[in-house]
Symmetry: C2
Subunit: 93 residues, 2 copies
DNA sequence: TATTTTGGTTTATAATATAAACTATTTTAT
DNA sequence: ATAAAATAGTTTATATTATAAACCAAAATA
């Protein structure tokens, strides 16, 4: 009962980012900003943490002359998310 | 979409405490310690925060010659918890 | 009566979230 | 042509928060 919640996912912004990516579609930096309304600095830091953990994949490219940062969830990220949700259920029901 | 999560509840230990109290039964300090395995100092601090927010009621008494701290969730606490769960659902499904 | 146990609180520290300040490139206005 | 503004971020400093260590008081026990 009350297993530890993965601290990497138990953060509003990181959870939102991963939640967005759990659709399976990749999303880019701007979409994350639009949806979450967080500052770019905050998003940048949280993306790096998720990347370092191997939860997301980050692909940098050029799109219409501008740099573009695209994010995609990894298998590890999917498993971590599913595990987080399972653990959380113990707390909220 | 992605409404803010009540920061008072979006904390593993405080969420566990409120979750325990959501049964309706009151629980005392020791039960919280047994269930959560957190340190007394940590629990003490988090209890005060929940009390200050009006989410729980704290009743101090004497039981078998020892001081006893009993906790009970308030109506405000119940509503906050239910709202938290509703908001969380946007993130986890 | 000295020591240990019970039941906590207060305070210091470690970790974390968040925004402010900064960098670099591109577009637009003058 | 070039100054200003917009795009797309990163780095770093600060503010907040979680957590444990240190502490206190009363009761039980050796």
């Amino acid at each position: 009962m009350y297993k530890d919640l993965d601290p990497l996912l138990h953060s509003q912004l990181r959870l939102a980012i991963v939640s967005i990516l759990m659709t399976g579609e990749s999303a880019d930096f701007n979409q994350i900003m639009d949806i979450t309304k967080a500052t770019s600095g905050n998003i940048s830091v949280q993306i790096k943490k998720l990347q370092d953990a191997g939860y997301i994949e980050v692909v940098k490219s050029f799109k219409n002359n501008y740099q573009n940062t695209a994010l995609k969830i990894t298998n590890k990220g999917i498993k971590a998310f599913e595990n987080y949700v399972e653990c959380l259920k113990q707390y909220i029901k």
